[in-house]
């Protein structure tokens, strides 16, 4: 069975299937119950699963911390942070607790919890409803950070995250929710966490990216076919810990590497990709590593012209690939 659905529906379906499959799975977060979440990711689940879909008070540290406690007990909480930006009050629980519990207890306790959060901009969300926060969490051993790039991946990766025995931060691009549509099997499949995915084979330039930018990279690659530029696209899928092997292979494939993120540049997760390349395949490169990213300003402004200036787009990716192909 296969259906065409958007990214948001794929998320919703994954949640529903996992709640059916395992009664230890429950959802908690702000407005996830009757309201179905402010983006409707949990729509219909309260009606179907009742108190297993729990509206919490407006307290992110408690959402994370209660989830951690319940997970240590043996449940599989799926916490929703209303916006990635609002995870920040929960950072102590996520970094000091969730990430370190298995290690500090010498494997006695563990935290099988998923934290979902919409990230990214382009929807007039301004500074605090547009941020990409993955870079704050890409140096925290014990955590996994997953960012799907299509409805198919969203379903398979979210199911894998929920079944994972360790805490997973699961970032969903809020613009992807309705923009991305695709075929999603209605049966049970999971996509392994920790593995990157070649979404397009090519010979001239390698693009390494993740999330919504994967979509832009694919669009750009298609457009550039006309110019006889063949683009290889690697979707990281998991941005922490990274799939070194896949990165090295993709970089060597063409010898010209463009890294793309919609986060700001300095210190983004692309830095680690570049570092892996600098360690492993320096002599296989034909041109310097390029990074395309948002400018290094605190976050995306509200006014349309400024937001547009800030955003990474298909056109910007396209021209960066072209430049690199011509290097």
């Amino acid at each position: 069975m296969m259906g065409t659905m958007n990214f948001l529906q794929a998320i919703n379906l994954a949640l529903k299937e996992e709640m059916h499959r395992d009664e230890k799975v429950f959802i908690l977060g702000e407005d996830v119950g009757r309201r179905g979440g402010v983006f409707l990711a949990t729509e219909g689940l309260y009606e179907e699963f009742g108190d297993r879909v729990l509206d919490t008070p407006l307290t992110e540290s408690a959402i994370a911390g209660v989830g951690i406690g319940a997970a240590m007990y043996g449940m599989r909480p799926v916490a929703e942070m209303q916006f990635a930006d609002f995870m920040l009050p929960a950072v102590n629980q996520i970094v000091s607790e969730a990430a370190k519990i298995r290690y500090r207890s010498n494997n006695d306790f563990h935290v099988p919890m998923t934290i979902r959060a919409p990230y990214g901009g382009g929807v007039h969300g301004a500074l605090y409803h547009s941020q990409s926060l993955e870079a704050m969490f890409n140096s925290i051993p014990g955590l996994k950070v997953v960012i799907p790039s299509s409805p198919y991946d969203a379903k398979g990766l979210l199911k894998a995250a929920i079944r994972d025995e360790d805490p997973v931060l699961f970032f969903e691009h809020k613009r992807a929710y309705r923009l991305l549509k695709g075929d999603v099997p209605e049966d049970d499949y999971v996509i392994p966490i920790g593995k990157a995915n070649v979404v397009r084979e090519g010979d001239d330039v390698t693009v390494i990216t993740y999330g919504l930018c994967t979509h832009f990279a694919q669009q750009a690659a298609t457009a550039l076919e006309k110019e006889d530029i063949s683009t290889h696209v690697l979707d990281l899928r998991t941005v922490y810990p990274m799939d070194r092997e896949a990165i090295v292979e993709a970089a060597k494939k063409t010898g010209k590497v463009l890294l793309v993120t919609d986060d700001n540049k300095e210190g983004s997760v692309l830095s680690e990709v570049a570092a892996i390349i600098a360690e492993e395949c320096l002599f296989d490169l034909d041109s310097p590593v390029q990074r395309l990213a948002a400018p290094d300003v605190p976050a995306m402004p509200y006014a349309s012209p400024l937001e547009k200036y800030y955003l990474v787009t298909k056109d910007k990716v396209e021209s960066a690939i072209r430049d690199l192909a011509q290097f």
């Binding site: 119950g33 009757r34 309201r35 409803h129 012209p305 400024l306």
Partner: protein, 328 residues
């Protein structure tokens, strides 16, 4: 003696109060129209909060005291000096937006010259800054007070607790002003708060606490005025909770049909201060139907003008997005 007299208010004050409430309401209504017409991307409303905001704001001294508001405080900032045009510029995200030059969403008020401290979206952070302003004032020997506002849902955030305790320990002149409108987006009081009144928390911070009718601007004025006096006299902070109801959906992105009944909203509209306070003024003989109509017309004209100006105004340049990350 009338209650407004007991509160130390005069006829002119009451008329100003009403005008400010009405101005905010009418701006707010215009914003929804602009949003539905596709002219502005987002609205967050003050409807149902006007009386408490103006009552509280009037208890402060402009030019001296500080306001650390939240996104619903349109009426409060209008009292504190933001013009209708300022508000429109910010809703259209134009360069002339005094709060942020169009960088922030509307409702994120700030203006150094007006004594309104810049705010963000993550709720309750401003509550801690209020303690910081008050601490600085104490260190510098000033006698200003700081009023910071937040929703009842936000009173559950850790930052509220830490700020209230800090202000309590150091006896800082902070007024913690909770605008209880019964909902935090879709979440009603009983799933949000474990106490009956938010002001029940005051004792845990060694401060005065009280809960008042947020539809009565005079009662709010009186309670906040007393808190201001305690603050100036070195008697520390206060927690004032004003109770009303959110008359609109949470924001222009919200759909409230899944979580509350239309009846409940209709009933709350019966207590709407814009109606009841006009009625009160008329009963006092301070205000006629004609006065009311004139006031409406006057404000409407000002809003029309400000809307046109804001619509015609220019955006900041795209490259200006790079400015002001650090001191230059």
């Amino acid at each position: 003696m009338h209650k407004y007299e007991r509160a130390g208010l005069q006829k002119d004050d009451l008329l100003y109060m009403y005008r400010t409430m009405l101005t905010a309401r009418k701006i707010d209504e215009r914003l929804w129209l602009l949003n539905r017409a596709g002219k502005i991307p987002f609205v967050i409303s003050c409807q149902g909060h006007e009386a408490m905001q103006v009552g509280a704001g009037m208890a402060l001294e402009r030019g001296k005291d500080y306001l650390l508001p939240y996104y619903r405080d349109l009426a409060m900032v209008v009292h504190f000096g933001m013009t209708i045009e300022d508000i429109m510029m910010s809703n259209f995200a134009k360069e002339q937006d005094i709060s942020s030059g169009g960088r922030q969403m509307p409702g994120h008020y700030g203006s150094k010259k007006l004594g309104i401290v810049t705010g963000s979206s993550p709720v309750t952070t401003q509550v801690v800054h209020a303690a910081g302003y008050a601490l600085a004032g104490k260190m510098e020997g000033k006698d200003f007070v700081c009023l910071t506002s937040f929703g009842e849902g936000s009173s559950n955030q850790g930052d509220f607790h830490e700020a209230a305790n800090f202000a309590g320990v150091h006896r800082l002149p902070v007024i913690f002003f909770c605008e209880n409108n019964h909902y935090a987006i879709s979440t009603p009081l009983d799933r949000q708060l474990s106490c009956v009144n938010v002001s029940d928390r005051a004792k845990g911070y060694g401060m005065h606490g009280e809960t008042i009718d947020g539809n009565d601007p005079i009662a709010v004025y009186a309670a906040v005025k007393a808190a201001v006096e305690r603050g100036r006299n070195g008697e520390g902070p206060s927690l004032i909770e004003a109770v009303s109801y959110r008359l609109t959906p949470h924001s222009s992105d919200d759909n409230e049909s899944t979580y509350r009944e239309a009846d409940e909203v209709t009933e709350a509209k019966g207590r709407d201060s814009i109606t009841t306070f006009a009625q009160y003024l008329k009963e006092l003989g301070f205000f006629t139907d004609e006065d009311e109509q004139a006031m409406h017309d006057e404000i409407q004209a000002a809003i029309d003008e400000a809307t046109d100006a804001a619509e015609a105004a220019k955006y900041a340049s795209p490259e200006s997005a790079l400015l002001h990350v650090y001191d230059q």
